[in-house]
């Protein structure tokens, strides 16, 4: 289990030297216990204490990085079973596989397809982050050649998958500079694969059919000098896979069982693109740190990446959109102007309903610190002053030739004050956004 502040305090110098920036060693110990400070900030801690504390304070699930530069990804270091308890930190990495039986143009076009799996949605860029090269050919030479070609044709982080330590050795040597994640290290091949990983300074995948086997394997790999390990739980049935992933997470978090305190990788490569998307989403919800898919169909990859975006948002922090004026369609100078708040859920609901109305409009979003209309009004974050300032700031009077502002039905009560403050005529819109299409088509 993680140490308490007092347990940590006993191992500190107790000099209250303040060099760590905290007033006392006890305060520093408390900060360490809450993972809000780093032991390196203490210049005088003894080596013994450092080793003991590092062991005890290292995260229950290790962070592993692979890839280099802009393409580097990091996985693991999660702290909770349920996102509402805190948040999920390092989003699942989606990798698309490439068979080493592909060569020449076939390989080139596969990589082009994969490189295109990037999307802009709700103002955020999301993408597939890795390529997994699979040693289908069984030949070490083909594998090494394909891995080299992939590293030239794609800048994404790489995962090298083979049953053969020799093939991994040949291929890894070609791309050691970009730190690929390599596997599989199984009970039989653990030492040989760990050696390849160690020589090339890259993380390694331990693969086993159950948690007992995996726990043995990770210890073996660690003893061979490789600490960056990712676990592949090899179950054939999806339900067993999800169950075992959850169990591994719980053992790492609740029992601080270090042999299973590593991120995980799973495959969703069977069946239609829709089936793969369904499996990938199930796996990412249940803690898989990397999911390898076979499909490069955009329609199937977009929902997977969106699910990651959603599940990994911070539940304590409302997601906000920029407070500005958003044109919907191609609004002219007679287009209606609608007011809403910058809570993303509120905004996107309004946006989609305004779009559905097919009435070109402006949506004016005011900054209410990410709260919804009613909450913002109750907290005085949505009032006539805020509206007046926004109208001025965005020069709305220059955009349209009328001076009519549609406000949400829930805040009809502020109509009078807004009219007084701004000189704009207030039109009270519907209470529910879903009634906007009808409202816009008829009333404005």
């Amino acid at each position: 289990m993680a140490l308490t502040g007092l347990q940590i305090f006993k191992m500190l110098p107790k000099s209250n030297c303040k060099k760590c920036g905290k007033p006392t060693c006890l305060a520093f110990a408390m900060a360490l216990a809450q993972k809000k400070a780093n032991l390196d900030e203490c210049p005088t801690v003894s080596d013994e204490a450092r080793t003991a504390l590092a062991e005890a304070s290292s995260p229950p699930i290790r962070m592993v990085k692979f890839g280099t530069g802009d393409s580097q990804v990091q996985i693991g270091q999660e702290t909770v079973m349920f996102r509402h308890d805190e948040k999920f930190y390092n989003p699942t990495v989606i990798a698309v596989n490439v068979s080493d039986s592909l060569t020449g143009d076939a390989l080139k076009s596969r990589l082009e397809q994969i490189n295109e799996l990037q999307f802009e949605r709700v103002g955020t860029h999301i993408q597939v982050n890795a390529v997994a090269v699979v040693n289908d050919s069984g030949s070490a030479d083909s594998f090494a050649a394909c891995v080299e070609a992939v590293s030239q044709g794609s800048s994404l982080a790489m995962i090298l998958l083979s049953e053969s330590a020799d093939a991994l050795s040949a291929a890894t040597a070609k791309v050691a500079g970009v730190t690929p994640l390599i596997g599989y290290a199984t009970a039989d091949s653990a030492e040989a694969v760990a050696k390849v990983a160690k020589e090339n300074k890259c993380p390694v995948i331990a693969a086993g059919a159950d948690l007992e086997t995996l726990a043995d394997l990770t210890e073996k790999i660690k003893a061979a000098g490789v600490e960056d390990i990712v676990m592949a739980i090899q179950k054939t049935a999806l339900k067993d896979q999800l169950h075992t992933l959850s169990e591994a997470r719980a053992l790492a978090l609740k029992k601080t069982f270090r042999p299973l305190g590593y991120p995980t990788i799973s495959l969703a490569v069977q069946g239609s693109p829709d089936e793969q998307a369904a499996e990938a989403i199930s796996l990412l919800c249940k803690y898989s740190s990397v999911v390898v898919i076979e499909t490069a169909e955009k329609y199937a990859v977009l929902p997977i990446l969106t699910a990651i975006m959603n599940i990994y948002t911070d539940p304590q922090k409302p997601v906000q959109v920029e407070a500005k004026i958003y044109p919907i369609g191609e609004p002219g100078d007679d287009a209606p102007v609608l007011l809403t708040t910058n809570f993303s859920l509120t905004y996107y609901t309004v946006e989609s309903d305004v779009e559905a109305s097919r009435v070109p409009s402006y949506i004016m979003v005011v900054d209410t610190e990410g709260t919804s209309v009613l909450t913002a009004y109750s907290g005085d974050k949505l009032n006539e002053k805020v509206v007046g300032e926004a109208l001025k700031k965005h020069n709305v009077a220059d955009l349209v030739k009328h001076k009519k502002l549609v406000i949400p039905g829930y805040v009809a009560v502020m109509s009078g004050k807004v009219e007084e403050e701004t000189g704009w005529e207030v039109i009270v819109g519907p209470r529910e956004s879903s009634m906007l299409p009808k409202f816009l088509q008829e009333a404005v």
Partner: protein
């Protein structure tokens, strides 16, 4: 290496709700559906997941005016005929339950009357043998005037009827109790209100084991994380022994997912073909919510339904 045991045991479990009545129990259904019964969350053994989640296919009382073209396509010959629509949903698309949704009684969407609603209910009951969900339009005044008549028309069929909310529960809860139906309690993505509605209807004498909760649904990309976490919290409260939260739950995936731009836009080439994208968006919303612990999923597109059925089979 021996691995520590992580078997948690919990005080509570999700109640089991039976929907539909066959002739043995005074109805005319040819099948019934049982949902709920989970005794764990996430890493429980697979025996602890309870009954298999089921798919309810939406049938609207009135032809929808605003469905995207790729959603209209599979139903285009039956959209005007709820009975034929229901039959198609059961026979061709494998509906476990039919969710008869009375959008057409809403003042802004047709303002149809009780005679219409009763006629549709009877026609659908006659057309299919699966159990029914009877779901109002969400406009309190009309629901209070019409849903009691709908309830009466389906008396003895042990339907699932709804929804009741914190501010509007009395008339529908009373009539559902009298007509022997199960009840859906609705809350706006707020777990405290969710519990409050259950308390209110239970204070009226409505049995807790005949309630299904609807916590509201956010589609993938549009607030699904809120639904997901509320669903997980409901399950945790249930397992902790809170009887007022220990109900199976229903999600409205079909209508919410198809409101998303990603599901219905036909002019975004960078997102893939819309004919595939819409169903994938609906299926993805459903499978994501399945991981948070839902029991009944309202769905629409047959291709999405096929994907989700396949996934449910892999999970059970």
């Amino acid at each position: 290496m021996a691995v520590p045991k992580i078997a948690d045991s919990y005080a509570g479990s999700v109640s089991r709700v039976v929907i539909g009545a066959t002739s043995d129990s005074g109805g005319t259904r040819t099948s019934t559906v049982t949902v709920g019964g989970a005794t764990n969350i996430v890493y429980g053994s697979t025996e602890q997941t309870g009954e298999k989640p089921v798919i309810a296919i939406d049938v609207l009382d009135t032809a929808p005016a605003d469905w995207p073209e790729h959603l209209v396509e599979p139903y285009k010959d039956v959209l005007d005929d709820p009975a034929a629509w229901a039959k198609k949903a059961v026979e061709e698309f494998g509906a476990d339950i039919i969710c008869l949704k009375f959008d057409g009684i809403h003042p802004d969407q047709g303002d149809k009357d009780a005679d219409h609603a009763v006629k549709v209910t009877k026609a659908v009951l006659a057309a299919v043998g699966v159990p029914l969900i009877l779901w109002g339009c969400g406009y309190d005044e009309k629901d209070n005037a019409i849903m009691p008549k709908v309830s009466e028309a389906a008396k003895g069929e042990n339907c699932l009827i709804g929804t009741v909310t914190e501010g509007n529960y009395k008339s529908l809860a009373a009539i559902a109790l009298a007509d022997g139906h199960n009840l859906i309690t609705e809350a706006p993505l707020d777990i405290n209100i969710g519990k409050q509605v259950n308390i209110l209807v239970s204070d009226m004498g409505f049995p807790l084991e005949r309630i299904v909760t609807f916590q509201s649904t956010g589609a993938l990309g549009y607030g699904i994380e809120y639904s997901y976490s509320i669903q997980e919290r409901q399950r945790l409260a249930t397992l902790g022994g809170d009887k007022m939260m220990a109900m199976p739950s229903i999600s409205d995936v079909g209508s919410e997912a198809w409101r998303a731009k990603e599901a219905k836009s036909t002019d975004v080439p960078g997102w893939g073909d819309a004919a595939d994208r819409g169903p994938a968006w609906e299926a993805s919303t459903a499978v994501c919510l399945l991981q948070s612990g839902i029991d009944i999923i309202r769905m629409r597109h047959p291709k999405a339904i096929e994907t989700v059925k396949n996934c449910i089979n892999k999970l059970s």
